[in-house]
Amino acid sequence: MNLSEFPLKFLLGGLLSTPAVACVSVRWKSVRPLATILPISALLAGAVAALQALTHGTRSAVDISWLAPLPFALSLDRLSAYFLLLICTVASPVAVFAASYLKRHYDDLRQCWILALLPLFLLSMVIVVAADTVFAFLFGWELMTLLSAALVAVDGWDGERRRAIFTYLLMMHAGAGAVFGAFFMLLPHSAGLDFASLRAAAPLLTGGVRGALFLLAFVGFGTKAGIVPLHVWLPKAHPIAPTPVSALMSGVMLKTAVYGFIRFTFDFLPARPAWWGYLVLAAGAISALLGVLFAIAEHDLKRLLAYHSVENIGIIYLGLGAAMIFDSQGAPMWAAVALSAALLHSLNHALFKSLLFLGAGAITDATHTQDMEELGGLLKRMRVTGIVFLVACCSIVGLPLFNGFVSEWLTFRSFVAGGELHSVLAAIVLPLAAGVLALVGGLAAACFAKVYGVAFLGRPRSAEADRAHEVPRLMQAGMGLLAAACLLIGIVPGIVLRLIDGVVQQVIPGAPAPSGFSGGLAQLLPWIAVFVIAISVGWFLVPRSTRVTSTWACGLPALDSRMQYTATSFSKPLRQVFSWAYKPDRTVTILPPEQPCFPASIAYRSVRTTSFERSLYQPALDGILTAAKRLRRMQTGNVQVYLLYLFLALVAALLYMRFA
């Protein structure tokens, strides 16, 4: 047996055998820890396999076509390996977290269900990114949808949840339809079912077919990635899943769509026209802006995070769009930089978004609520969770010394470089896209200042939040690992940027290594980190005379928690400025109504009324139903009429055969 292929095989074997262990552990509880240890060790082996492929370019491959009806092979080139590394590095801390979280929140049977389904879900994502044949890819793609839906359903199956899961499945299959369509359109031109023959077939296609292929891939993978307006399933499905599953869905599963999109458009369809790039760029800009605007108006923590996934996918698509534009303008160096930005942001988002979801799970664990208006003062009560959550907030906002900054910086710099392209359109559009990114960054900062300030700082807004205490060690460890990774990439980005070089050079042949471009930043960041941390820690440790007093209350006896700013009031000015995105429906209820000046209670409610479901999906659905009703007139139930239809169809077919 070839030793270099062992890690990949161990990964597949480990993930595949865990469900059996989980089933056994229903009866024999002592086996239960094995159901956690086995997938984690498999994931570590997967990370080793990915690093092997990334650093040495060795292609380890597994071919199990003898087991399957159609060719089924997995192989790791650099692009696959990068996304495999992403899956493994993010999933293993999540698994550590899950080990303790599941025990606290689920009864025995459901625990085993999740422990059995989770490794299979991971396996399906591994198959998607490592697939080397069409069958393997589509098999993994479909399996991924079904298993994630099953994991969401483990939590419950009542009315509202069933509706959300149904929306999820429906949207996913519409998207999968487009993905299948794209592959099936390509297959007749190809000699075989493996990716290499697809790659060989693509240059022979005509421009129209290529455009259609691109649009199908854009819609299909875009649905899974959650670009606006195909995102409607995302804020419904992600928040209701069990916490480790939401972390994996938002952090990792969305990235398989990014992988699929890069594989299909960059790898299979070279020589892309410029309008593809502009379309992707526009989709990215709209997703980023609307994603963050919708997030600001939310105060359910998990739904807010789900909208931020839309935003971050938008940022990734901004990088991909810029890469396509640069490539079509003959600037491979900048295409490489923009693509490396998108790849790095995929990894960064996977790290901090899963950390944020785990943090939200820890908050729910401690306070039994996800409503931010019920939280407050958690940093004093949950110090470790508070610190790692702060790291995640700073990362997603893109502050320097945290990982989100590095990828946003790369995106910014590629946009600035776009200003020097020959094409006037590109030279105006790309720098202005940087303006959109800046606005999105500012809005994200405001949103996470709100999240952290309201949930972790100040005084508790409910008795539950007041009683909150720290989560168990294993949960802390899972979050701590992810936070450490965020800081590591934020301060020493060179380690990952060098890995990305090989990936970019494989996808854009002939491009210079993009890490050369970011070398200056990579040198500077550790120094700034040392400087800021030294001053902060040094000054913080200097003994000072401090006195603890009560907060200034304008001379009133005391403040209570209801006098604090809430999440709603914090975001009010921004919601007012961007009211076009919300068109809010506000109601103020004063009780009792006959005493408006001395009310017993005032309730304020503001609901966003804009929704793509109402303005886009509902009309489309109505149109389909109306058309179906019209068509029903053909169904008279009269046999003679059906015979007439048959006759007409036959005549039409004969005429077609004669003249076509």
Binding site: C394, G453, G458, L574
Partner: protein
């Protein structure tokens, strides 16, 4: 030698920052027909605050004390980006304007968090308004600098300054004019001056920055105030460096540096008088006019970017 001058530059910015505040106050007083306090009063204020004790609200966590320090450290790091006396700086040779802007964002994020830790409505009010202003200021700030970066074919601050310094004023394109207006408007918003925010008011309905720091006292407050004046000085120096760097030392001779110090002092003085005159002559904007103000800045910065196409 270069390193020495670079360090001196940073120290100069840090040390003269309170003086700038004092001078603005003094000039404002004169315009309003008052005597005004000594220009050195901000130093005395800092000295007084540093010797006092820190009052920490009961509900606050350790972040309450940490935030002013991170704010100060990040602002110091940002100050190391801008060239003052010669077209080079400690971090501005390899570091670009994006890193500079985001160092300031790091500082502000922690200031906002510190404000929310006090647990009163003032802190939240100030934080929420600061979030509004800074969110809307981010796009014009970056777009204006992007326009200059495109024209000068570089993104590092030192070479952007150098590019302008070796040209004569009439060679500059409209890009610079648009970018100057946008950046000046953003500077006023970012540093919390009239007409966006009033640094001397303590009225709940209007204050932004003052509401955020209401709970702070003693050394923490001193750090915040000092960082705030460093930020103002750094934005002024950035404006000078990007749009009127002439006089900046080309070589490190005593004569060159002397001229650089003199011209820098003159340009700062002009900016101080301009700001004081503006603050005395203009009323503070209503809160919900600030987005329109920043929208205008944003439109002008978009024009700057569009005109880069004609400037090549």
């Amino acid at each position: 030698m270069t390193l020495g001058i670079d360090v001196i530059q940073v120290l100069l910015l840090i040390v003269i920052a309170p003086l700038l505040r004092g001078m603005i106050g003094r000039v404002k007083a004169r315009i309003q027909n008052r005597r005004g306090a000594s220009v050195f009063r901000p130093y005395a204020d800092l000295w007084k605050l540093f010797r006092k004790e820190d009052l920490v609200p009961l509900t606050a966590s350790f972040l309450f004390r940490l935030c002013p320090i991170v704010l100060f450290a990040a602002t110091l790091a940002a100050a190391a980006f801008v060239p003052v006396l010669h077209a080079s700086s400690l971090l501005g040779n390899t570091g670009d304007f994006i890193l500079l802007v985001y160092m300031l964002a790091l500082a502000r994020f922690f200031l906002v968090l510190g404000a929310m830790d006090g647990g009163s409505s003032f802190g939240g009010m100030g934080a929420s308004r600061e979030a509004l202003v800074s969110t809307l200021a981010e796009a014009p700030l970056l777009l204006a600098m992007i326009a200059i970066a495109i024209v000068s074919h570089s993104a590092s601050i030192a070479s952007m300054v150098h590019w302008t310094a070796v040209r004569d004023p009439f060679q500059l394109s409209p890009v610079h004019a648009f970018a100057l207006v946008a950046l000046a408007m953003v500077t006023i918003a970012e540093t919390g001056r009239v007409p966006v925010d009033n640094p001397v008011t303590h009225l709940e309905l209007t204050m932004i920055h003052e509401a955020m720091v209401l709970e702070y006292s003693g050394p923490s407050l001193a750090l915040i105030e000092w960082a705030n004046s460093i930020k103002l000085t750094l934005m002024f120096t950035l404006l000078i460096g990007l749009f009127a760097p002439w006089g900046i030392a080309a070589s490190l001779s005593f004569f060159g540096l002397g001229i650089a110090v003199a011209t820098f002092a003159l340009k700062i003085a002009i900016l101080i008088v301009a700001l004081a005159a503006l603050e005395s002559g203009v009323a503070k904007l209503r809160m919900y006019l600030v987005p329109q103000y920043l929208g205008i800045a944003c439109a002008i910065s978009v024009l700057a970017v569009v005109f880069t196409v004609f400037a090549r």
